[in-house]
């Protein structure tokens, strides 16, 4: 009878309402954080694969006009392809309007920066939620524990004899809240670090690619300037 009373499900069912609410909140947070972990992990791996493919075709010596034409305008791409598309479109639009190379390069750079910031937003979406769960859930669990121990001391004051048996279930139940908080927080911290590091590296690669593409356009403009003048 006493053995049954100290099992984890029994403790959870017998906990006070506040502690049960805290446990529910932590469970939901843990499940949501794991959803984010899986979703972001798979998405980032796919983005890395796509970038590797695009880089290979870009540096294979193909004509940039052909590469641009292969991308249909109504099917916008993502990652480095998106940056390339935005930059090249701006270049083609500005070229007939102005002969000043500086103006053209400035417009291309601006449009590529916009595309890059959109990519950043897309890659790091929901990672903030992971960070929130990682930092907040230990405190939420601690709150549940403190509340539970308060209850245990209140029940202790009701009984005439203070024995371990009257306090033990309360404290065990209260400690479960902390355990659940840590259970939610630890994977969230680990995967937040890992995923944000992956996203940052990918964004760095995009930035490098944008700079390289900018250099190619700059070289082309220099040649055209000297030829026209």
């Amino acid at each position: 009878m006493n053995d049954n009373a100290m099992s984890i499900p029994h403790l959870i069912m017998n906990a006070s309402t506040v502690v049960q609410l805290v446990m529910l909140l932590l469970t939901v947070g843990s499940i949501l954080s794991w959803i984010v972990i899986f979703q972001r992990g798979i998405a980032l791996r796919r983005a890395q694969k796509e970038y590797a493919q695009f880089e290979e075709t870009f540096w294979s010596g193909v004509d940039l006009n052909e590469l641009y034409r292969e991308i249909p305008a109504d099917d916008p791409r993502h990652g480095a392809e998106h940056i390339f598309q935005a930059g090249f479109r701006e270049f083609n639009r500005l070229m007939p309007k102005t002969r000043n190379a500086g103006t053209v390069l400035e417009g291309v750079q601006r449009s590529m920066r916009v595309a890059w910031s959109r990519e950043e937003d897309r890659l790091t979406q929901h990672l903030v939620f992971l960070a929130t769960v990682a930092s907040a859930s230990p405190y939420i669990g601690l709150f549940g524990t403190v509340w539970g121990i308060m209850g245990s001391f209140q029940s202790l004051s009701m009984t005439q004899q203070a024995t371990l048996a009257t306090v033990a279930p309360w404290i065990a139940e209260a400690l479960i809240a902390t355990a659940m908080g840590l259970f939610a927080a630890i994977p969230a911290v680990i995967f937040y670090n890992r995923l944000s590091n992956n996203a940052g590296r990918l964004l760095g690669k995009y930035e490098d690619f944008a700079e390289e593409f900018h250099a190619i356009l700059h070289r082309n403009l220099q040649g055209r300037d000297s030829a026209s003048s």
Partner: protein
Amino acid sequence: MAVKHPRDPQDIGYLWPAVFAIAVHLLIVLFSLVQWPEGEAEPDSSSIVQATLVSTEAFTNQAQQANDESAAMEAADESVEEPDTSAAEEEAAEEQAAAEQAAREAAEAEQAEEQALEAARAEAEAQAQRRQEEAEAEAERQQEAEEQRRQEEAEAEAEREREAEEQRRQDEAEAEAEAERERVAEEQRRQEEAEAEAEAEREREAEEQRRQEEAEAEAEREREAEEQRRQEEAEAEAEREREAEEQRRQEEAEAAMQRQLEGEAQAAAEAQQAEQAANSFLTIVKRAVEQAWIIPSSASDSMSATLQVRLGPSGEVLTTSVVSSSGDSNFDRSAMQAIEQAAPFGELRELPTEQQRNLRQFNLRFTPGDVR
């Protein structure tokens, strides 16, 4: 500019991640549920206090009288304190007596050692004498035994010769006697053959008589057989009726037996319930006392003390007395204090009244065991 489609090829949606996440949580919950019951039974095995019921009726009667006298709780408290002081006095007296005894024993031990040395010397001499005597006695015995063997062998040979001669004489006499017997036998055979012929004639006459008698006898037998059949049929019917009645009686008896058995089974079940209730109460008491017990530093693992506890009707402790001491008064006192700390055992009131009487008196055995 580049207007984003709501659908992202890198975005795999939230269905599969959700399924994975819930699967991870279910796995962890299952793991914790499966692992739990295995690791639990271990800590219970090392209980340091063992309880046994004292179910003698004389004791329970005494307990009842005590209860009647101490109807109020105050009276009970006083009666708890009294045995303590008396026990302390007794212990002091015992310690003094033990010290005196120890001194006496030491003096006696010295005397005993001197005596033991003298006795040892005397024993050594006696043993040496005994060995010499034994050696002489054995030598004499061996000589006598050899002489006896020689005499017996000589006598045996003489007897064998005598017997052989007698046999030869007897054999010769028997051979003559057999020859005479054969002659007599031949004469007898001749006489017997003559008699046999006479008998054959007598037999023929007898056979004719027998045939006539048999024919008459058969007629009579048939008549008798018919009468017997009628009687047997009548008897068989009577027997069948009797058997049917007996079966009925047996079935009724069996039914009665079954009823009795069921009653016994019920009684057994009730007894089992009572036992279980008693056991659960004793385990509660055991746990409470275990928790309240502060084991003194002087206690060793091999020590054990048995204390008898008498409870009042509402579970308060009336008296505790040492049944078998551990030899360490501190140890016994700590055990008594543990019982007083753990009291009152209010669970006694939850039991049925009949069992309460039996459970008011029990023994607790204190063994520190492997706790320290």
